[in-house]
Amino acid sequence: MLSLLTDTSLYAFDLVRRLSEADGMVISEGTIYPLLSRLRREGWVSTTWAESVEGPPRRYYALTPAGERALLAFTADWRRFRDAVDALLPEEAT
């Protein structure tokens, strides 16, 4: 979710749609809102309200510097984890 916000701020609805459409991530759209709320409370994302052309004002999400650091840390951890798993799997398979 943080990585979707790397370069841009996103409207909550679009953010949720893109997450739920990501391949392999089967997730109900509604459960993403509590997650967003938590990121907000942890100071990893900031939000701004903006008037929309149609309908009520929309809440836009953007990464904070703390969020960027968290994303970098996670990316590094994830790659290490993935590499470790990759290194183990072939031995198991053959």
Binding site: A12, F13, V16, S20, S28, E29, G30, T31, Y33, P34, L35, L36, S37, R38, R41, E54, G55, P56, R58, R59
Partner: protein, 218 residues
């Protein structure tokens, strides 16, 4: 577009969500309901005709209210830190920070500032005796005093006395010097040590104090 069946489905869904979310704190509940309502409104505004099938599909995508509430509970910040008892017992390191600040920056107030730092240092229960000695001995008076001494005029004072002979010629010139002068390179090295070492010691002291007070039990 305002289809009565569609409205009824949405209302039913929101009612179920409201019922399921009673476990949440009032703030979180209000927020969650508003967000889901906003999501539904945004979904519907994209579709020109929201027939029953479209609305059902949309609600399916949002997911079961019970799942959403479960996610909200899971993502709620843990309450335990605010439980009375743990909060009050958690030791701060303001005394330790004060000691280190007085030993370094405070030593700019000659002698007194540094002495206050030493008293604070020894009254703390966080550091070991060896660490307290380290903090006291590197360097006595603190960097502030060293800075002060270095800026005092002239480390060396000399006086020359001339002894004149009767004929008016200068016989011998005697030069007497008090004090001593270090070779410049050694002086600069000593000065750097006196300024930097206390800061290094300060960092070590603070990091140890933090490490020791970090766990819940002191």
């Amino acid at each position: 577009m305002t289809n009565s069946t569609a409205d009824r489905l949405v209302d039913e869904y929101l009612t179920r969500l409201a019922g399921a979310s009673q476990a949440l704190s009032p703030d979180r509940r209000t927020e969650l309901l508003a967000e889901i309502r906003g999501h539904i409104a945004a979904s519907l505004s994209g579709a020109a005709d929201a027939d029953e099938a479209a609305v059902r599909t949309m609600l399916d995508r949002i997911g079961d209210p019970a799942d959403i509430v479960a996610a909200a509970v899971e993502n709620d910040p843990p309450e335990p830190p605010s439980v009375p008892g743990t909060q009050g017992r958690r030791p701060g390191i303001s005394l330790e920070v004060g000691a280190v600040v007085m030993l370094t920056a405070g030593s700019l107030v000659p002698v007194i500032g540094w002495l206050v730092g030493v008293i604070l240092l020894w009254s703390s229960g966080v550091w070991r005796r060896s660490e307290k000695l380290l903090g006291t001995l590197i360097v006595p008076g603190g960097p502030g005093l060293a800075l002060l001494i270095a800026t005092l005029p002239g480390g060396q004072s000399c006086s020359s006395t001339s002894i004149s002979t009767i004929s008016g010629q200068v016989g011998t010139t005697r030069e007497a010097c008090t004090g001593f002068v270090l070779p410049p390179a050694l002086g600069i090295a000593l000065m750097l040590f006196v300024l930097i070492a206390p800061i290094v010691v300060a960092i070590v002291l603070i990091s140890r104090a933090r490490a020791r007070t970090a766990p819940a039990h002191p």
